[in-house]
């Protein structure tokens, strides 16, 4: 049973990783050409008459993850590997992992995929907070 669970997790992770990698290939920007890239600003956020920080949401390429209680170290390592994540920092008292997405997969996409895993208690963007309060 445990073996199949692990196997299915591995397969899902593997398949999704491939689709994310394909997306990565399409975003090679060429000089002075119309481009599609994660780095390029998504113009749909722009409206006439704006200024200041318009979309102030989360840090691109980063996540906060909490693994389910008792998740083994090797499973965590495997998830990091499968989803191409790298640990920036662990807040050990709360068991919260601050991680970096090493490829061009979007934060939303990774969260959507991690949500399906039993080993993940939750994952969320690394939100921006402002001091203009």
């Amino acid at each position: 049973m445990g073996f199949y669970k692990y196997l299915s997790f591995f397969l899902i992770g593997g398949i999704l990783l491939i689709s994310c990698s394909e997306k990565e290939k399409t975003i090679t920007a060429k000089s002075n050409q119309p481009i599609q890239s994660n780095e390029f600003h998504r113009s749909e956020n722009l409206r006439p008459g704006q200024s200041g920080l318009i979309k102030n949401n989360y840090q691109p390429g980063e996540l906060l993850i909490k693994f389910a209680e008792g998740t083994e170290e090797r499973i965590i390592e495997n998830i990091m590997k499968q989803y191409n994540l790298e640990i920036i920092n662990i807040t050990t008292k709360l068991n919260i992992y601050h991680v970096k997405i090493k490829d061009d997969c979007s934060v939303e996409e990774i969260i959507r995929r991690l949500e399906d895993l039993e080993e993940i208690e939750y994952s969320e963007p690394n939100y921006v907070v402002t001091f203009q309060e």
């Binding site: 002075n32 890239s37 113009s43 200041g52 921006v128 907070v129 402002t130």
Partner: protein, 739 residues
Amino acid sequence: VKRRPEVRQKYNFAFVVTVALCTFIIIPFSRAGQWNKGSISKADLMNSNNATKKIGYVPGEILIKFKPMISKTKIASAHSVLGTREIKRIGPLKLSRLKLPAGISVEDALAQYEMNPDVEYAEPNYIIHFEKTPNDPDFDELWGLHNTGQTVDLITGTPDADIDAPEAWDITTGSENVIIAVLDSGVANMHPDQINNRWINLTELSGVTGVDDDGNGYIDDIYGWDFWGNDSNPEDYNSHGTHVAGTIAAQGDNGSDITGVNWDASIMPVRIGGVVGLMSYAVEGIVYAVENGADIINASYGGSNFSQSAYNAIKYANDNDVLFVAAAGNSSNDNDIDPHYPSSYNLPNVIAVAATDQDDALESFSNYGATTVDVAAPGDNIYSTIPEFSYGPAVNSYTEDFDPFPPGWGFSGANNTWGFVSGTGFGGTNCLEDSPGADYLNNSVEIAQYLTSFSSVKENRYTLTSRIKADIEYGWDFLYPFGTDGNNIFIWENRTGTTNGAFIVDSFDFTAFAEVFPSFFYFGFALVTDPLITRDGVYIDDLVLTREPISISGYDLDYFDGTSMATPHVAGIAGLVKAQNPNYSNSQIRDAILNTVDKIPSLSGKLVTGGRVNAFKAVTYLAPPKNIKLIPGDESITVSWSANNEAALTGYKILYGTDSSLGTKINIRNVTSFTIKGLSNGTKYYFALRTIGDFPFPGPGVTEGNNTPVVTAVAGTPMVNTGGGGGGGGCFISTIFID
């Protein structure tokens, strides 16, 4: 925060004259012979000190001094005439504080003792409110602490629309033992008015540089930690955190600048951002503050996103008895409908704070919420400490004159017509142009972006300069120079055309962000147009992006507005309450603040408490005893309760009777159970308790807390409705007296 551009008055010398030093004047004892029965000469007393504003005396008490060499027997016999009882003896003065029996007035008692030849003098036990005023020269700017209706930064307020700080300072001015963490943009704690109130990690201070001497995971964290820069220097290159920290505890009564709500405290800077902050740093920062001994966390930051990680971190603070005071937000929003975090987390240690102005009205910008925002505090026109900055030397990060057409630019977006041209823009040289050779298109959202990102070097300021020539439809079409990290976008400025359609020849010089983007950013230009009217477009040339290191060149003070500024008033009061009651838990501090607000009609229905915080009432709060149990016995009922731990606590008052008017009152000492005897078996008795405290300057309404809810039991009936257990049967008859 909203910064005010007005000229500030750093030192208002005219005011220095009017600030009375805190003079601790003891009112001279009146001689027995000079005492006139029934007339308390307030005028005489008022003349003795113009800082002594409120004068009265404690009912049921007098002070008395007998002549030398009077025997104890004679003194006892003098007391027996009226049945007075000595409750305190001030040895060096040979002065006794006497409690009078019920029904004997202060005037009558004084008259009685006056007739006794052995008495040197007798007088009422005067209540003296000194309302300690610190000698800080800019104290009069701090309307939030003490509002006399004075004009602050051209705005005049309403007297007493403040937190009653001077009154609270009669009780406590704070303590360096209270640690208040400021989760913010850092704190410039070398500010001369703050340097003495820094939290100091003594283990690291006396340890080895480069070694984590205290093993807390952070090397050399002597004065806090910078999670943003991942170093041991939580310096403030924003001003926000310094201003917040100054309101909590700029050093008081030191003859310079201002004072915080606390004259003394230990401020622990925890830097979670620069221009903006990140949730990951807030989470780590909260845990750091908790692990390193903070009693209170000030969170003058926020956003609209619920973060489970932040929730868990604040819950961790609660579980470790750390109070979390959070700004309600500045978007005139009802947080009951649209939550604002962290102030809206439904956790027992969170106090959410709205902002009031100099007239005790809710600020127009302040968020509110009948179930989600607890209290209001002064948050407009708040004068506090800031650092001054200097910049440079400048480093050119990117220069481009478009000669020849450069690689590395991308053009994109709806109806994109960006391109490079030669000769048409700025006399003969190449430039970047929207719509070469034609007008731009309607309904366009088009972007020209340099496709190489720049690393955000922290503690640096970025400036973009360029020449620009533009003809854009006035008021409807816009050019945006922007920075982006692909998710967030920062628009330096929106620029439209002229009404007459002429070209504007101008230049950009935008210094708008130092660290809006925590890791990296791109820059570019966007042209956004509406469905009608097109014009020639935009020419851009001679682009320069520079970076300048920011350094702190001095220290100053300034006026800021915001719930960010209201929050440290509350965190500051929490600090005073903790200083007064070191054994208080975070929930007791929270209760003391929330249960003692000054109710303000206009705040009713907008805040949980419907009021603005009051420091004096919070530090003199005496919580009603909890967990009251009644254990009936034969012709008796034993009352027991949980111990209170106010520092000022001297005992309790039990009020009871055969109906809810609770006709009998008994004062008892600091015990947690008491048996009332002589009751009638089969009769139902009603009980309530209140806490009694002895503050330095006692007075009616200050020395006794509020009643508990009424509870009942029938005497002679064993074990009815008591919840069982409890310390039954304690006999403390010798400690009681009838009030």
